[in-house]
Subunit: 413 residues, 2 copies
């Protein structure tokens, strides 16, 4: 089966807002074997909306539209549908009661403009929205089934899951399942080289690579007649890809590097502290993004000034003067200081030049020393490495923090 | 003038990637008086791409397409254009030389597949791409002018600015300019109440509000016949809005709260340190996102454990035991400790429960104490406040860090 996805809104057509609803809907449809023919975004305009719905209904048996169901004058989806159906808008009293009640719980009277949200073209069906004020609409247009949902992502997602997904035929003759594997520390061409013939475009499941935020991801798309076969083949390609990627691979789908590191620390019963100069708190922030991180994260120091490096973490002033703050020696002293002061099993330290200023010929912007101190016996060991990260301030900081996490991941794995 | 924007890619239609190019293009076009009729996203399919281009060229005098110019078998934009033009693809030797050279600088031979990127439909025009390997294409299709750019945002943006924007008639009879003002610490309805009649939908410039990340933004859209009038009216509405919003307003368009605070500190010649528990480094990260922040940021402590609160910042163990880590007393002790240890003029401290676990009846998830210590004379003063932030862990941390920044902003303003 095919579908067309429409989104309505001046803020989308004018580029003030990026439409993320359509991507979400197509991914969910694909998993049910429904292929999206196209997405189209139209302005808050009665003619434009009606024309887009008419063309979509002619092109596909399933049309899903988001947006244009709000209470203001520029919300015209229900009027466009009424025009195509050649029906008047009529009131749906239970919806009106629900909207009034919604405002009452906020301690306010319903503004008169919200009454329109309880109107629907005669002959259409009202779809319950338990997550907001605007109900959805469903109607037959020729041989096509048309759905309209509010544009608020949370409401749209819940309504799709409730009103459309269950009804999509499981035996549609096609199921597309996708999975994304994530790697860090090698470039896209290296990853592609390891995957080799798996990346042949004629293969099914098809395997491709993309890069985002320094993470090279491997996308697997398995397209078969049944869900069972699609799942089986997805698992086979997943297993083969993992074998080839080895240590580069750190997780799949929505998982982040910091979650993987957190899980490894928790499993090993170990703790971590950090000392950050150039990343300025980003590494600590990433680690503590993970719920429950207090179980493995002791704490951190953001030591921007030399004085603070010395006072807080006992970095000798002689080291700072002789080698400079961005040096192997200072990175090691920071890591060792953080480990000792916190009592943690591991400490990561970063010192570098994030830019845009501060670079020199010897130490250009992007130079970052990363040290990993580990408790071993009574003293400890330190690994330290120098990196030269490309890009602007944000990129250098992001790559540096991820590289530090990845050093610890490889150590723990 | 009107335009249609097309984007090509299975990853877009399947929902693996969100199309942000189209929004960017429409915003830039609107500023030149070009209204986008619709966006459409199509799959990597020759028929689908050719049909979409044909329909777009029939609908508007300007069509911009992004994507499908890569070197692989599923990049079919140039083939689709060749079909519509009824012309063969021919080689453009200077482009081929440039692509070879690009690979040479990476120390690699050009893969044979990249040769296609130097091909173009006879009669079309090759558009220079100084930012990547794939040149763009330009062609007349009936009365419409068609442009194809690579989908890589940076390349697409540079090429639009270079190849299209300068040629767009300034005297197009319409110019739409937009500006967004940002406020923090009041809800959307409060902001709307302050704006009052400025939000009348029939007004031009039209004024609307949106909320994202706790920041209530006021969008002004000025739509007039000339750039001069659009600019003048935009400034008038901007000035009136600022007057009504008062202290709530912190900046406009792309500016972030941390940049505003950084600029205020720099101007006042003051410095800042932070002590973070629940935000775990996020506040320091935000502050150091701003280039040059070492001029006003001394450093920070991420004190997750009670032991570290005591050892690093001298928070008395008796306070921690008597009042708990999430308390007014500990927030003040953290701020005072960070200010004293760092020697900074100001210190912000946060201690709270970000969740999902750790909440109690008295201190539910979202409870955060924020203290601001200021040097005054030989000792100092402390302001402290308790907040109850809604939402999940990420939201609580984000709002807490922004609220802390905003406390300092109001103090400095």
């Amino acid at each position: 089966m095919n579908a067309v996805i429409l989104s309505v809104g001046d803020e989308l057509v004018l580029g003030q807002t990026v439409d993320s609803n359509s991507a979400w809907l197509s991914a969910r449809l694909a998993a049910c074997g429904v292929m999206t023919l196209y997405h189209q975004t139209v302005a808050d305009d009665l003619d434009a909306t009606a024309n887009a719905i008419r063309a979509a209904a002619a092109a596909a048996p399933l049309v899903i539209l988001t947006g244009g169901l709000g209470p203001t004058d520029d919300d015209l989806t229900r009027q466009a549908l009424a025009r195509l159906m050649r029906q008047p808008l009529v009131l749906h009293p239970p919806s009106l009661a629900k909207i009034r009640k919604f405002f009452k719980t906020l301690g306010r009277d319903m503004p008169p403009s919200n009454r329109i949200q309880a109107m629907y073209p005669r002959g259409a069906q009202i779809l319950k929205n338990d997550w907001g004020t605007a109900p959805g609409l469903k109607a037959k247009l020729g041989r096509s089934t048309f759905y309209a949902f509010p544009g608020v992502p949370r409401e749209m997602m819940s309504m799709f899951a409730h009103h459309i997904e269950p009804g999509l035929a499981r035996g549609s003759g096609r199921c597309i399942l996708t999975r994304t594997l994530h790697t860090f520390s090698a470039g896209e061409s290296t990853v592609a080289g390891l995957l080799g013939d798996l990346m042949d475009r004629r293969r099914n499941p098809v395997v491709g690579t993309t890069v985002s935020g320094g993470i090279v991801s491997v996308r697997i798309r398995s397209d078969f007649a049944t869900r069972r076969e699609a799942a089986q083949q997805l698992e086979n390609t997943d297993a083969e890809s993992r074998k080839r990627l080895g240590e580069l691979l750190f997780g799949s789908d929505g998982v982040a590097l910091e979650e993987v590191v957190g899980a490894l620390l928790r499993k090993a019963g170990r703790s971590l502290a950090v000392a950050e100069s150039c990343t300025g708190g980003l590494l600590a922030k990433m680690i503590t993004d993970v719920p429950g991180s207090s179980a493995w994260f002791s704490g951190g120091w953001v030591v921007y000034s030399n004085a603070l490096k010395h006072q807080s973490l006992d970095v000798p002033m002689t080291l700072l003067r002789r080698y400079g703050a961005v040096s192997k020696e200072v990175a090691c002293a920071l890591a060792e200081g953080a480990r000792r002061k916190s009592g943690a099993d591991y400490a990561l330290a970063l010192t570098g030049i994030a830019g845009p200023d501060g670079g020199t010929k010897d130490k250009p912007v992007g130079t970052v020393w990363i040290a990993l101190a580990s408790k071993r016996g009574r003293s400890g060991t330190i690994n330290v490495e120098c990196f030269r990260f490309p890009g602007d301030r944000g990129m250098v900081r992001d790559r540096a923090a991820k590289t530090a996490l990845n050093m610890l991941r490889v150590r723990l794995a």
